[in-house]
Amino acid sequence: MALLRLELTRMLRNTRLVVFTLAFPAGFYLLYTQMYGAQLHLGGTTWGGYYMVSMAVFGAIGAALGTLGTRLAAERAGGWVRLLRTTPLTAGSYVAAKLAAAVLAAVPATLLLLVLGALVNHVALTVSAWIELTLIVVAGAIPFAALGLLLGYLFDSESAQAGQVLIWLALSLLGGLWMPLQAMPKVFSQIALYLPTFRAADLARLCVGAATRPALQDIAVLLAYTLGLGALAWWRYRSEAQREYV
């Protein structure tokens, strides 16, 4: 699909996004696994495997958010969306392409972190576990694509970029992606249960044998976020359309 290709081209040329979502997670991963030792045992696996999942999720959701939120906001403010509305492209396929691009944008960060885990820290998994892990991390970006959509319809322009980065970092910190929850005060573990960042990482940790909650519960929370955020974005889109066009 042409719009999807266009979106992916733009993503790859966006150096800031590439640096944020590849270099940061990879850098943190190497730094902290060197610092504490990759073979340290944590939650049923090694620190090298545990943190590999954390940082893969961190990069993946950053890429998903970054391709959608502020960029959509800027396209709306700049009139590009309006011009597209004069073409035969439907609103549905526009949104579908945006979402697909956001989820696909999660692939490079995911793969990079898994490769680093395997090569640098010798994380050993079966082939099928590697594949499963990749798919889960990428699929875990779906609720964040929905979040990006909502932010895109909430924000008014590029100036909201900072807001989006803040949300990304805060959700990652509170969800235990930066530091394991075991190393944070207890109350954070309680909060994290309700966050999609924690749930996406927990589900993915199934593959390294370090999940702490039932997989179905993780999936249910992620699904609820996806539907809830998607519905909010739809509602914002509708109310704006009512105001603007009818």
Binding site: A2, L3, R5, L6, T9, R10, R13, N14, R71, A74, E75, G78, G79, W80, R82, L83, R85, T86, T87, P88, L89, T90, E244, Y245, V246
Partner: protein, 298 residues
């Protein structure tokens, strides 16, 4: 087939308490090239957005190519250039054009769109590196990509330099000759005068006049005297003809006067060079001014 390409039927459009268009009715037939004129805030952009189905009329009905303007079916036959559109950064011009073509059932080839839109030299540039005038050219090329029957252009030449404007209008004249229907807005009345075969004048949301540029000009009882002279002469001309409107545009001086004979006599007596002298009945500018004053008295 005498099908109307655009039809406004008692159209009203409100924005909250602001009435942007009131009781506007007109039809545009296939192959017409129509200028939509009027001061800022007259409702030109609103009218264009109604034709494009970007907005719905508050009252009345807008039809395009025989269907309600918001029906998706008309979009395959329409090309549009809107007033302010920033292009999505990170893309080359050629990539944008290829994308735009993919949206239409019967697109122009990349080469044809690039040539007609005069963007062949820009194809490899990233859109964020384009100047304002180049961006307008790209937007025009995008509007042509779908090989549209109907072109809607909201201030297409704003930000273009004189040469770009001239080339742009040459292309537009060719498109009109090939049977396309074109509706455009502009702040350059010269453009409307030369290239439109019909002018719709909006004034405070009302359709104040509808006719050929010739008819509108004649209605004013004014004439325009135009000649090439260096701009240095403009002050001299203003001093000689204090009651007339004197404009300098593209190396030419134009004087709007009810009495061209007297004006010419005065100019000749002062040896003002009158190369390329041209006297035309009325001026669109005067027509617009008269309508505006008439509106104020009402």
């Amino acid at each position: 087939m005498a099908q109307d390409v655009i039809s406004f039927n008692h159209v009203r459009r409100n924005f909250g308490k602001v009435v942007a268009l009131r009781d506007v009715s007109f039809k545009v037939a296939r192959g017409e090239i129509v200028a939509l004129l009027g001061p800022n805030g007259a409702g030109k952009s609103t009218a264009i957005s109604l034709v494009l189905g970007l907005r719905a009329p508050s009252e009345g009905r807008v039809e395009v190519l025989g269907a309600d303007s918001r029906a998706a079916i008309t979009r395959a036959s329409i090309g549009a250039m809107l007033q302010e559109t920033s292009l999505p950064p990170g893309l080359k011009v050629s990539e944008l054009l290829v994308f735009q073509q993919s949206l239409y059932p019967r697109p122009l080839s990349l080469g044809a769109a690039a040539e007609r839109g005069r963007v062949a030299d820009l194809l490899d540039l990233r859109v964020e590196r384009l100047s304002g005038g180049q961006r307008r050219r790209v937007l025009f090329a995008l509007a042509l990509c779908g090989n549209p029957e109907l072109l809607l252009l909201d201030e297409p030449t704003a930000g273009m330099d004189a040469e770009s404007r001239a080339l742009f209008w040459r292309e537009m004249d060719e498109l009109a000759d090939s049977g396309r229907t074109i509706l455009f807005t502009t702040h350059y009345l010269e453009e409307a005068d030369r290239h439109a075969r019909r002018v719709l004048l909006l004034q405070g949301g009302r359709l104040a006049a509808d006719g050929t540029p010739e008819q509108l000009r004649r209605g004013t009882g004014q004439s325009t005297v135009r000649f090439s002279a260096s701009t240095a002469w403009a002050e001299e001309v203003r001093a000689l003809l204090p009651d007339c409107r004197v404009d300098v545009l593209g190396g030419a001086i134009s004087v709007v006067t009810p009495d061209p004979e007297t004006a010419l006599r005065l100019l000749m007596a002062r040896d003002v060079p009158l190369e390329g002298l041209e006297v035309t009945a009325g001026s669109l500018e005067a027509a617009l001014l008269q309508l505006r004053e008439g509106d104020g008295e009402r």
